[in-house]
Amino acid sequence: MARADVLVIGGGVTGTLAAITLADAGASVTIIDAGVNAGSDANAGSLHVQMQSRFMRLYPDQVPNVEASLPFYRAAAEEWVRLDAVLGGVELVRNGGLMLAETPDQLAFLEHKADREAAQGLSVEILDRRALDQIAPWLGPHIIGAELCRDEGKLNPLLANRLLRGRADAAGITRINGKVDGLALTARGVEATTAEGPLQADQVIVAAAWGAGRLADGFGVSIPTRAEPLHMNITEPGAPSINHLVQHAERSITLKQFGSGQIVIGGGWPATYRGPTQPPLVRPSSLLGNVALAAKLAPAISGLKVIRTWAGMNTTIDGASVIGALPGAERIIMAIPGDAGYTLGPMVGQMAASIALGAQTGFDPERFTPARFAV
């Protein structure tokens, strides 16, 4: 192939936005995508802003990083609102997210969390049961209150992916199927090794999620990108009834209703990793546990049928995103959302593109620098 100005590794939402930003600035851009287990393909379209209790429980050491990132999440959700308009509608609805409490302890936890989030500029409020009855009458009787985060929302990821893909094609971005095995600096730029031969570019943006850390190895950093295979469920359609993104103060769940009327139930229940070329395997314990929990929180949905489940890869690092050039290899720019990759993806991609173009990102670059993983 012809030498590209910029090679973007990873054609998910992050890489695609990086590529579009660069192409709009006049660069010749190529996306290479391995076509398997892309997080964007399996995503269920939650726009996460408030701190997720699941994450706080699983990775308590990363909570300070997440807390400091809250304004970043909020800006990322705003970016999706802009994209919704630019792309011509991705069924984005921003009625806010509810995090439910079943016990006074859980409600107290949410009150404390809401205070911390309000300090970071989020629009949050604690609702009692009476207030919940006004906006979510389908909730089970044991829910005593909830935190409402107005910055949150939901969108249709399949539609967004399709429109983004069309936008990238229209921008003249070359897209090739393939997997990059390694990167090397050359006299004139960067060479990416693939099974089909080397690819040359002036710069490379690594938007390869859980595969990104491996590509940065050997450049003085060790970025601990981990694949986290997660499980999701979707029901047949029902009348539009659930307006919010629904989560729980203590348990792993996300629940929302798409524009199609279908309810998507997920929230981080594990799937079984089966290697890089096969989708993760659905576990019975996750299917049963996740859906049963949904039925307990929202008994009104229990007459609906689940018509499909799937599993896909989430990526975790240290709670914060990795955005920036590799120290000593400035032509290689990392673009990895820290968590909630689909929410953060467009923002992270555009910031990485700005760095490649030598522009400012609008956020303190130190917070996201790959140099924090120097070895």
Partner: protein
């Protein structure tokens, strides 16, 4: 039979106890059971719980399949809205049923019942799960009231009676929705969650019918030939007064005759393949391979001719439209001449698709059979798959018809019993000999019909392919422009296969289209990835299963 009454959208309807809701509605002249998101009407299509098109609301509960639901006195039935209000749980979960038999047989048709009889007689503890009200499967279709119509139904009744007497436990009305490694099965029977952890499992889930995808094939009143046969054989209901039967294969011949004898006017029987006599050598080979079956076929054809039925070969359905209460079906002859006939019901069958979801989910190895256009499950001589303890018999493994399924069932039943310490699975020579003979006849038979999958390239752009998501072949063609490397990619970009039927009709079409566009051979991995649930499952059922398995309050 007891007369009962119920209402459908306010109309009072008389029915017979034991009828399915779909049969009772059809008999009363109602065809449109639900409205789609795009405001189209849909009715019963597959008649066997696969297509999920015949959904109605019963006593305020939406999403019930009319074809699988028995009619009850006084029930209030309504046409299903595209986005029904939440209704809470269908059922209050009752105590779960835990099963751990030596041999679990999934599917109580020809293959499954034969397997169960053999395994139970060898001394194994056997449970059969069957989804219908009465077991017997699609070939032996039993009547709801126990009456017997003909020799085929009699043969099935005898097989079922033998199975019941063999010591095997037959559970009817069971919908199996979950299959997990190592041999964990989740199912629902009425209000009861079933958790099965058998030592061995024999999958005998049969096949469903391949449609003739033409513009209009989704109209109410268009149904599979097997669906019409179930209406008649199981419930004594004719699909309509004026009926046309089309597609390819001997089932069309048989059902046309059955419906004609039942009093329907068969306006036309259109077979896509040329008449067998135009291929005398192939016909002769079939006659030699299966003299009695061939004689049966000839007798049926003569009986149809005696009734003066318009039988046409090399005659192809090209489209269906609705005009008032009438369906207008347009056919094209080999010479390219088109004509249109008006009917109440159109029956179509163009071969079969194996119900191999459980096998694929559990990782059984599959190969593609291009002649039939289906996957075939690889098994050894014992019908054992590559997955430990998992056997496959009958049409779900690879199409072969009921007589083949029976012999495969006998072999698998004996081996599964032996694997659990019952019998030695030694004396199977007669079964193997009979199996070889049936397979020989089957391969000769299908050479005479045109059941290779239709060529998607010749379908008009406006032909619906994905019934659930209401996508046309044109939509899929547009989707191919994004150069999807896999059917799953096409699924995500177009939503093909994302509906309630889980891609059972559009999936094979999408898999072949993508394979052709990418220049790759069709194989197991070309199809949509197998996923639970195998059939849509109520959240309340999942809750019940979770409580049964993990006991969480």
């Amino acid at each position: 039979m007891t007369e009962i009454t119920f209402t459908f959208d306010g109309h009072k309807i008389a029915a017979r106890e034991g009828q399915s809701l779909a049969a009772a509605l059809t008999e009363a002249g109602h065809r449109a059971f639900r409205e789609t998101a795009k405001s189209a009407d849909r009715g019963m299509f597959c008649g066997m719980g696969v297509c999920q098109e015949c959904l109605v609301s019963v006593d305020g509960m939406p999403n019930l399949r009319a074809c699988m639901s028995p009619v009850r006195d006084g029930m209030v039935v309504a046409k299903q809205a595209p986005f029904p209000e939440f209704s809470g749980a269908h059922v209050a979960p009752s105590a779960p049923m835990h099963l751990s038999p030596d041999v679990l047989v999934i599917g109580g048709g020809a293959g499954g019942l034969s397997a169960a009889i053999t395994a139970a007689r060898a001394g194994a503890d056997v449970v059969v799960l069957d989804e219908r009200k009465v077991a017997g499967g699609q070939y032996y279709k039993q009547s709801a009231d126990g009456s017997v119509l003909d020799a085929q139904q009699q043969e099935g009744a005898e097989l079922l009676a033998t199975a019941r007497g063999s010591g095997a436990e037959i559970l009817s009305g069971v919908e199996l929705w979950g299959a997990f490694d190592p041999l964990l099965f989740l199912a629902q029977q009425g209000e009861t969650a079933i958790v099965a952890r058998p030592k061995t499992a024999i999958v005998a889930t049969g096949a469903y019918e391949r449609p003739v995808m033409v513009p209009g094939w989704t109209l109410p009143g268009v149904m599979t030939t097997g669906a019409a046969q179930t209406l008649w054989r199981s419930y004594g209901t004719l699909p309509g007064k004026r009926v046309v039967v089309c597609g390819s294969g001997p089932l069309n011949l048989q059902v046309a005759l059955e419906l004609a004898r039942g009093g329907a006017e068969i306006v036309r029987l259109a077979e896509r393949a040329p008449h067998p006599l135009q291929r005398p050598f192939a016909s002769l080979k079939m006659g030699v391979a299966g003299p009695s079956q061939t004689a049966k076929g000839v007798t049926m054809e003569l009986a149809l001719r005696r009734r003066g039925i318009d039988m046409r070969n090399a005659c192809e359905l090209v489209g269906v439209t609705q005009s008032g209460s009438e369906l207008l079906a347009t056919f094209r002859s080999a010479a390219g001449v088109e004509d249109t006939i008006g009917v109440d019901a159109l029956c179509m069958n163009s071969g079969f698709e194996p119900q191999n979801e459980i096998l694929r989910l559990l990782g059984a190895e599959m190969g593609y059979d291009p002649a039939m256009g289906t996957l075939r499950c690889h098994t050894d001589d014992a019908m054992h798959t590559n997955v430990s303890g998992l056997y496959a018999v009958g049409d779900c493994k690879g199409l072969g018809g009921a007589p083949t399924a029976r012999q495969e069932g006998i072999i698998a039943g004996a081996h599964a019993a032996a694997a659990t310490g019952h019998g030695d699975a030694y004396d199977l020579f007669a079964a193997r000999r009979a199996l070889a003979s049936h397979r020989r006849f089957q391969s000769r038979l299908w050479e005479l019909y045109d059941i290779a999958p239709g060529n998607a390239a010749t379908m008009p752009d406006d032909t619906l392919v994905c019934r659930c998501e209401e996508l046309t072949i044109g939509d899929l063609r547009n989707g191919l422009e994004g150069k999807p490397g896999h059917a799953g990619t096409l699924k995500r970009s177009t939503r093909v296969g994302m509906g309630r039927c889980q891609g059972r009709y559009c999936g094979p079409v999408a898999a072949r289209m993508v394979a052709e566009a990418t220049g790759k051979p069709v194989e197991d991995l070309s199809f949509f990835a197998p996923r639970v649930p195998i059939k849509p499952v109520a959240i309340s059922s999942i809750l019940a299963a979770e409580e049964a398995l993990y006991g969480e309050g």
